[in-house]
């Protein structure tokens, strides 16, 4: 089939369980122009170079007229370039990480372990569980709620908004897509109002959560209301719609590789490397559809014209045999694993350290219990989005004696 239909085929729901042959096809050509005028980039070294190329913008307003896409009134920092990106991401980081809050995420280890233990306890005695609904989804949701200061009981409310927003992240165009985009915009607006409302309740009465920190920040470090809304929406969605995939993909991959599961059970010290390998092998964010060249770019002997949508296919770069030996092999002991799972450059995943800790603790707690587990369905049913790709459910059978 022609490489100019790759995007369509990746987007096709039938490709969700195994998009990797399509990525291999992409790597054959390196860069592939699509029928809609966008360009896919699939080689590791090309993607890695573009992450550090200042001529590639993250701001869709730099697109040529025929590719114009609606932008929210107040974009979040992942949709912006420096210096505005730097300012907003810096303000968002103040209560989350270094240099102002270096111990914030590390200090959550105990809490994350506690939440994990509770979830595990709730599975006692059950022989069939859904890894997604019973474990991999509730864990990051509870964590991000505690971190941001969002009531956990409101989950049904914000989950509907989040789903609407995620569902708009597909790669099609046309009336159907425009309708999804409009719905996502409405959801984003309502979610923003909700989060700003929560923050406002803490003005002058700060808790130890991030919304409190944002609303009570002294003037030069303060986000405007619109900025706070855009930032908080981004963090709430990204904080719980991606880690679920990392944990679920982890369980799925380990159950498909019993030898590696066994290795990790015997040597838990390998877990940090195993999580990095998962981020390479089954990255929760498969591709970044957001970039636009500010000038014609030469990539893999192809000229990508100024102003067109450029899609960086991270999951393809992660399987590039030019960079990774035996790339389709899942190897938790893989050395020199500079994967693209969290992106790179100035837009590297903001929540990466939290996702790493959550995945390590979650998988660390599950692995000893997976010894007798079997997949009920393989492949499992997947979620809609080809961008934030992961199983919608992952039912597994546990032997009763192991609980």
């Amino acid at each position: 089939m022609a490489v100019d239909t790759l995007l369509e085929r990746i987007n096709d729901y039938a490709s969700r369980p195994d998009p990797y042959p399509l990525y291999a096809e992409l790597r054959e050509v390196g860069v592939a122009r699509q029928t809609d005028g966008s360009y896919l980039v699939g080689g590791y070294y090309d993607i890695a170079a573009l992450f550090h190329d200042p001529r590639l913008s993250s701001d869709r307003r730099n697109r040529a007229a025929e590719f114009a896409a609606p932008m929210p009134q107040q974009p979040s920092f992942i949709q912006l370039d420096d210096p505005e990106h730097h300012r907003l991401r810096g303000l968002a980081t103040r209560p989350f990480g270094p240099p102002h809050s270096p111990g914030r995420v590390d200090a959550m280890r105990g809490e994350i372990t506690g939440i994990t233990d509770q979830l595990i306890a709730s599975l006692q005695g059950r022989t069939r569980i859904d890894i997604v609904d019973d474990f991999a989804y509730p864990l990051p949701v509870t964590v991000i709620c505690r971190l941001l200061g969002v009531p956990r009981d409101d989950e049904p409310v914000f989950h509907t908004w989040a789903t609407t927003i995620i569902d708009s992240l597909d790669l099609t165009s046309g009336a159907d897509h425009d309708e999804r985009t409009r719905a996502a915009d409405r959801a984003r607006e309502e979610m923003g109002r909700y989060l700003v409302g929560l923050a406002e309740q803490r003005r002058g009465r700060p808790g130890d959560d991030m919304l409190s920190a944002f609303i009570n920040a002294p003037k030069p470090a303060a986000l405007t209301h619109d900025e706070l809304a855009a930032t908080a929406v981004l963090l709430l969605i990204a904080g719980h719609e991606t880690t679920v995939n990392l944990i679920t993909n982890g369980v799925l991959t380990l159950l498909r590789h019993p030898d590696q599961l066994d290795l990790l059970r015997r040597e838990p010290a390998l877990l940090p490397g195993a999580v990095e390998e998962l981020l390479r092998y089954e990255p929760p964010v498969q591709l970044l559809p957001q970039r636009t060249p500010l000038t014609d770019l030469e990539v893999a002997d192809t000229t990508i014209p100024k102003g067109v949508p450029v899609v960086l296919v991270l999951a393809s770069g992660n399987r590039d045999p030019k960079r990774f030996r035996d790339p389709d092999r899942f190897d938790p002991t893989r050395p020199d694993n500079q994967h693209l799972g969290f992106g790179s450059g100035i837009h590297i995943c903001y929540g990466a350290p939290l996702a790493r800790i959550e995945a390590q603790i979650a998988l660390g707690a599950l692995i000893p219990r997976l010894g007798t587990a079997t997949l009920v369905e393989d492949p499992p049913p997947y979620r809609h989005s080809p961008v934030l790709r992961g199983p919608r459910h992952l039912p597994i059978e546990l032997s009763p004696s192991r609980g």
């Binding site: 270096p102 111990g103 995420v105 940090p272 990095e276 590297i348 350290p353 790493r356 390590q360």
Partner: protein, 69 residues
């Protein structure tokens, strides 16, 4: 155990600071400082930091054990 960070490679992603804040520190927005000697109770965090480094710049290992002479 000792660590050395190849600051030629380091691009200040600060994953090490998040994961082992008592060992790694950002000085300003980008300048990384670290404790070169690893106390036992920090070793697990340091290994996590080394695994997470996006540019694989952190080396954890034993120093040369050699007597003078």
């Amino acid at each position: 155990m000792r660590i050395v960070v190849d600051l030629t490679r380091c691009q200040a992603y600060a994953q090490c600071v998040f994961l082992a804040p008592e060992m790694f520190e950002l000085h300003g927005e980008e300048a990384l400082l670290y404790r070169p000697d690893v106390p036992d109770e920090q070793l697990e965090r340091v290994r996590q930091a080394a695994a997470a480094c996006p540019v694989q710049a952190i080396l954890v290992g034993e120093a040369v054990s050699a007597c003078a002479g």
